[in-house]
Symmetry: C2
Subunit: 320 residues, 2 copies
Amino acid sequence: MTDIARVRAAAARLEGVARETPLLESPFLNEIAGRRLLVKAECLQLTGSFKFRGAWAALTALDEAERAQGVIAYSSGNHAQGVAHAAQLLGIRATILMPHDAPALKLANTRAYGAEVVTYRRGEESREAIGAGLANERGLTLIKPYDHPEVIAGQGTCGLELARQVRSAGVEAADVLVCTGGGGLAAGVALALEAEAPGLRVRPVEPEGWDDWRISLAAGRRLEAPGGESICDAIVTPAPGELTFPILSRLGGPGIAVSDDMALDAVAAAFGRLKIVAEPGGAVALAGALYRSEMLEGEAVVAVVTGGNVDPAMFRRALS
Amino acid sequence: MTDIARVRAAAARLEGVARETPLLESPFLNEIAGRRLLVKAECLQLTGSFKFRGAWAALTALDEAERAQGVIAYSSGNHAQGVAHAAQLLGIRATILMPHDAPALKLANTRAYGAEVVTYRRGEESREAIGAGLANERGLTLIKPYDHPEVIAGQGTCGLELARQVRSAGVEAADVLVCTGGGGLAAGVALALEAEAPGLRVRPVEPEGWDDWRISLAAGRRLEAPGGESICDAIVTPAPGELTFPILSRLGGPGIAVSDDMALDAVAAAFGRLKIVAEPGGAVALAGALYRSEMLEGEAVVAVVTGGNVDPAMFRRALS
């Protein structure tokens, strides 16, 4: 189980390793949002996404024998890079299972961080089955991308920073929009905010068609989203996590779904107004704050830009 | 005259107003640079460039009568936005003289920050003459872009942050590469480093053809560069400033010139590896660190990315 003590312990292990990412604001974006909009630029985290936090927290919680055997992870790319880089820094061997059509940059970077990348065909092969096979065969410890108590705790360290930074900006009450796939970040941040900034409330933001959190929170139980095409590769998970759902069910506000076009517009807005590079899946929370403001209340809103690992072609598309 | 006391006084006035911009690092960029490369992301400053610092420092040093009359500035765009936004926040009327062919984003933003923009034809009209005429006619105080003691002091606050951040990163000695037009930032940072981090030394980086600092520092007197076409609109000044030259002459290391192609490659590297948006003129220091490493010594180098106000078309070009 992940609780605030575990989040704080993860923060202590991440001290001096992960970056404290800045909280940004632009008068031009405030105008579009119709309220103050504070943006946590987690794309500036090591490896270009918040995933490094959870990966480091999970790997530093392993015992010596587990570290010596190595770890395995599956991911479309950001968790992959986070685990690969954390493992590299800790001298742990990492095997990463990635879809063969993951963004080229994410595949290349994961290899460049020293991991062995094994690809599988999304929709045809089961990554869980392949992963379990490799883990068994090689004695590897599986580092799940979100349903893992230490991963949730590590992502929660983003929330500890957020609580402090939002208060420094003079905001006591606001919705905190978080790009959400399996819910590791949203759940971790929710635990941190419950303890440190009770006026802030997490709300998951997802791509249309992959809004399983939105429908699950409304229904009070874990439901699958219909799926479909999406450019938000980082967060196209079909259903809320087992460990993350109870946390957000207790602490999270209603979910928000945004279109691919809104995500691309948010990528362009982050480029023009914040001077940060966001990937589409990392920009859906910003898209929610800017273009779904009818879903929001209050004088301020916070959005976490969760990742910036976008191929140049997709970025050029966002700017055109 | 600008000295460290004036820089510290400017820092006190900027406290809680300007952003402390992060110091970033990427193992991929370290590999290209052949040493540790620490990047100060000043493109994340308010208005998208370091210029806000100097503008705020200069405007907050005005007396009540001067504030009531208003200010004038000339600039290709970053000083323009810095002065316009600082003036807006302080309730001061700002008139900004800009070349008619400045990047569209910079023209639009300067107006959006509430300034009156007057355009002139670069190469045909003298901005100094037009500026002096308007200043006289309307009783405005001219806020020069670099040859201004308070502007230099304000830009120096970037150096105070840098000194602390670089030390926290475990680096005691390094060259600090700074994108340089008139030298306001480089001079201010040099004063800050002299006082706070004597192992760090500023070196100006400029576009080829506009490397007046490089030739002037080598000659020991202010010389004009030949000029020519450049995409680095932010830093195509023909000669070192009168106030900035003596400071860098005493404290700065040899200058470095980079090509437009190197600047574009650095924009792409900042996009891919640091997830920040740099404009070509704001990326020349990074270009120097990455692609002119034969000009460097030592185990570490620091580069200041000075601005991110780039039109989408130019950014797409950098990514293609």
